[in-house]
């Protein structure tokens, strides 16, 4: 295993370690896992180059310029808005004391439980001509037709930016708040004693300090905005992902579609790399701190009111409005609660999300430990690539999984028939395995961040001490690191769980017979323009997400406290 020697420039646990004792099998496992994650991408690349797309001239002249522009605008908008919403709210709850702060600190995470496509439907229902807002406006001013007055069009690019950001900003909020509560606190206190104003501290100290955290949160939000199809299709925003689907389904050109998807992926990789390079020269040392101390400067009067408004607005947008619209529909359909199929879908959703969470966290953990153990450049690269599954439209990724899995199944089946005269059929591709596989490839990004930062907080001296005391890497992992990493693991698990419980596009393509989840249940209704019939199930998806989101919030605070 000489290839896995620590490469120069990467921090390894035991730079002068005894040659490989106990590492070999371990690292091999990590490599296998990384390969598993890479397989769908390889399949997609193969797919992209295998077909001769006759449509490129059409794509290049009519679709791509416009779609690229729209996608760029969407990304820019979502980056700015999630960044602003996430950072401002995190700063407020971490720095000041104002009425309802404790509640906000928790409730600001809630929009994470609302899937983007459901938020889009809810917003349109809420703001359309016959919805409560416009009805009130008409009643107030005595208008009768939509031609009598101007009202902003929610089905538009700005509308999509607003809707997506309203449910995606918690990624930024969660990561940034942690920084503000920990390192930020001490630095801010020092600056405070030197007479800096809160505004100066925010702009000159906290914001630069939180940059890596902002980057992590915004990247997640952007990936989700880019891979989204449900919301943008409904809102009539023609992004590159929309072009992927129209190329594939309307022009029967899966190859061209895959090529566009990979192009998008390349752009994301580029952005992430640029961002990393740009702060390569900077050092972000994790300071030790005691319990995370939220600031205690009291905001009262007008400023207190402003703080409350700034924290309430994102929750109203990302949680209250969707909940209100869904609840309204659901109230007229409470009889659906007696439908055993709904509860089966509920159980499937919870089971699937739990298993996906466990598998993803396990894989992510082993990968991250592989990196920590060896500093292998190859593993580092692979673990970075592993998070990219989230940037690919779900259905396309599912195809990247389907083709190799079914190929393997058929290969095994043919061999088994030849040798033992038994048919094994579609062992992997026709079962829940495929969905879980898709889930972990898609959601590695969720777990990766918290696991990486979790490991970063545990001093490598502990590993060394354990190794010196004769523990093999596996034992070190179980006896030393696992207990220390528990909060980070829980955080990663919950993030993946919440995402997996909302997952639609891969599940719907890969599931076995008669396997409904809440998301597929909702989709079956919306696909025949009867969103309201899926409201009860949609509400259940949100409810499934709320509990983990609440635990998540506590878990992150606990994690913050430990380091």
């Amino acid at each position: 295993m000489s290839a896995i020697r620590p490469a120069r420039g990467w921090p390894a646990i035991l730079p002068m370690r005894r040659k490989g004792k106990g590492d070999g099998g371990y690292v091999a496992t990590a490599l296998v896992l990384a390969a598993l994650v890479a397989m769908p991408f390889l399949a997609l690349i193969w797919l992209a180059v295998s077909g001769t797309s006759s449509n490129w001239s059409h794509l290049a002249t009519t679709i791509l310029p416009e779609a690229s522009l729209v996608t760029a605008e969407l990304m820019l908008g979502v980056a700015l808005l999630t960044g602003t919403m996430g950072v401002v709210t995190a700063w407020l709850v971490a720095t000041f004391d104002f009425p309802g702060r404790r509640l906000f600190s928790w409730a600001l995470v809630l929009p994470l439980a609302v899937p983007t496509y459901i938020a889009a439907y809810a917003f349109v229902e809420f703001l359309h001509f016959a919805g409560p807002v416009q009805t009130a406006i008409r009643a107030l001013f005595g208008y009768s037709s939509s031609r009598d007055y101007w009202f902003p069009e929610i089905r538009s690019l700005p509308g999509a930016v607003l809707i997506l950001s309203s449910v995606l900003y918690p990624y930024v909020y969660l990561t940034v708040r942690m920084v503000f509560l920990m390192q930020g606190r001490k630095a801010a206190d020092v600056a405070r004693t030197l007479g800096a104003s809160q505004a100066t501290i925010f702009l000159r100290i906290l914001l630069p300090l939180a940059r890596p955290a902002i980057a992590v949160g915004v990247t997640l939000a952007l990936m989700e905005a880019v891979n989204d199809i449900g919301a943008v299709e409904f809102l009539g925003v023609r992004t590159l992902t929309f072009a992927v689907y129209s190329t594939w389904l309307n022009r029967g050109d899966l190859y061209g579609a895959t090529q566009i998807a990979l192009l998008m992926l390349a752009v994301i990789v580029l952005l992430v790399t640029i961002e990393r390079l740009a702060r390569r020269q900077q050092r972000f040392t994790l300071g030790r701190s005691d319990r995370p101390q939220p600031g205690s400067e009291r905001l009262s009067g007008g400023r207190g009111f402003l703080a409350v408004a700034a924290c309430a607005l994102p929750i109203i947008l990302g949680f209250a409005i969707p909940l209100l619209v869904l609840g309204d529909y659901a109230l007229r359909r409470l009889d659906q609660l007696a439908d055993p199929q709904l509860w089966r879908a509920f159980r499937h959703t919870v089971a699937l999300a739990s298993i996906t969470g466990l598998v993803t966290v396990t894989v992510g953990f082993l990968l991250a430990y592989g990196v920590r153990l060896t500093g292998s450049k190859r593993l580092v690269l692979m673990s970075r690539l592993a998070v990219l599954g989230y940037a690919v439209p779900g259905t396309v990724l599912a195809i990247g999984i389907l083709i190799p899995l079914a190929g393997l199944d058929n290969f095994v089946d043919a061999r088994m028939r030849e040798t033992f005269d038994v048919s094994t059929g579609l062992l992997l591709s026709g079962s829940g395995f495929a969905i879980v596989y898709a889930g972990f490839v898609r959601f590695m990004a969720m777990g990766h961040g918290s696991l990486e930062s979790g490991f970063a907080k545990v001093s490598t001296h502990l590993d060394m001490a354990a190794r010196t005391l004769g523990r093999a890497p596996g034992a070190t992992l179980i006896e030393v690191l696992l207990p220390l990493m528990r909060p980070a693991l829980l955080t990663a698990f919950l993030l993946v769980f919440v995402e997996a419980s909302k997952e639609l596009s891969a599940t719907i393509l890969l599931r076995p017979f008669d396997f409904e989840t809440l998301a597929t249940f909702v989709y079956a209704q919306t696909s025949r323009s009867a969103f309201e019939e899926g409201a009860v199930a949609a509400l259940l998806i949100v409810l499934v997400g709320i509990l983990p989101v609440a635990i998540l919030n506590r878990s992150i605070l606990a994690e913050t406290a430990r380091s």
């Binding site: 359309h128 009768s144 089946d413």
Partner: protein
């Protein structure tokens, strides 16, 4: 090379993963006498399938798959559990045929029940229900009761037309039919004319167009017939009844005097493990019992001649379906999709 403890850890991890995997694999084993991959919503076919089970004692299992149905069957290859593929839109039926995942069925029953224009020339797919792609017009603001598809591009409708995305399969099929009738150049002009008549950017579904007429945003729209039935009878959301009341259905025609219809249909999977049962179900679906259920269930037009439509559907007026072969429509889909992009239809009105 590895110590005992590492070994145990790796083994535990592997074992756990294997257990989880096999627990899930077990759910895959569920299969019935006929297994169906469908992009038709479960609610819309379950009553018909139940009737089949009642009559024959054969059980059915379904997976609702939307995008990627053909790719899945193709990837699964010889071991695919799919017996039947049921789908909506002529484009999807044709895509299944082009992907080579279906096989021809030679059945006297199907040939008798389903008219020529509603099945593939090589008997690789069969339509089961039809729906007209018609005009919704404001009762208040539109006087005429007859209109041609060609006329929809007339400047007199400028700023008055609403539709869903031009890339939606129903619109693609309509434009493809236009190409089949008038050729590509005329179709491009037509779509350009439609675009210039738009009141707003294409968005939402067909119901949303009725809603937009109700709201006064536009006067005419293009939509499928059955949505009107669904809105008219929506007891849970009475508001939709108001939308339906605001509009009247006009059956638009091509210059042959006939209306464009799209279909839902069925095809036999290439590697169907239960071929005999599957054909039984196909024949059942084309027969009186199933066709009657279809007619009542979703306000669609049964393809079997002589089966009555529901009373509500009759109130739309008489639908004279275009006799243009559907596979010819399907052949022009790629071009139709390209035209929509080229004239930037989804960008909405240009001025």
């Amino acid at each position: 090379m590895t110590s005992l403890r590492t070994d145990r850890f790796t083994r535990t991890a592997t074992l756990t993963l294997a257990l989880l995997g096999s627990a899930f694999a077990a759910t895959a084993a569920v299969a019935a006498d006929v297994n169906i991959y469908t992009s038709r919503q479960p609610e819309l076919i379950q009553p018909v399938l139940d009737a089949f089970t009642e009559e024959t004692g054969l059980s059915t299992a379904t997976i609702f798959i939307d995008k990627g149905l053909e790719e899945r069957v193709k990837a699964e290859g010889a071991n695919s559990p799919a017996d039947l593929i049921m789908t909506v839109d002529i484009g999807r039926l044709d895509a299944a045929k082009q992907a080579g995942v279906v096989q021809p069925v030679d059945s006297a029953v199907l040939a008798e029940n389903i008219p020529d224009s509603f099945r593939d020339g090589e008997n690789e797919w069969f339509a089961l229900t039809a729906r007209g792609r018609v005009v919704y017009a404001s009762k208040e603001r539109v006087d005429t009761d007859a209109i041609s598809y060609e006329e929809l591009a007339d400047p007199k409708w400028k700023g008055r037309l609403c539709t869903r995305s031009g890339q939606h399969q129903y619109n693609i099929a309509l434009i493809a039919a236009y190409i089949a009738h008038h050729g590509e150049e005329a179709a491009r002009d037509w779509v350009t004319g439609l675009r210039d008549n738009l009141a707003r950017r294409p968005e939402g579904g067909d119901r949303d167009q009725a809603k937009a007429i109700f709201a006064g945003e536009c006067d005419i729209a293009i939509g499928n017939t059955y949505y009107v039935g669904q809105m008219t009878t929506n007891e849970k959301e009475p508001e939709q009844k108001e939308w339906a009341k605001a509009i009247k259905v006009i059956m638009p025609t091509f210059d042959n005097g006939l209306t464009h219809v799209n279909v839902s249909g069925v095809a036999l999977a290439k590697n169907a493990p239960n071929k005999e049962n599957a054909i039984k179900l196909m024949e059942f679906l084309s027969g009186d019992t199933a066709q009657k259920i279809y007619a009542e269930l979703n306000y669609e037009y049964p393809v079997e001649p002589g089966i009555e439509t529901s009373d509500l559907v009759k109130s739309f007026g008489e639908l004279k379906p275009d006799t243009l072969a559907l596979d010819e429509v399907a052949a022009h889909r790629t071009k139709a999709s390209e035209i929509v992009d080229e004239v930037n239809y989804d960008g909405g009105p240009q001025s």
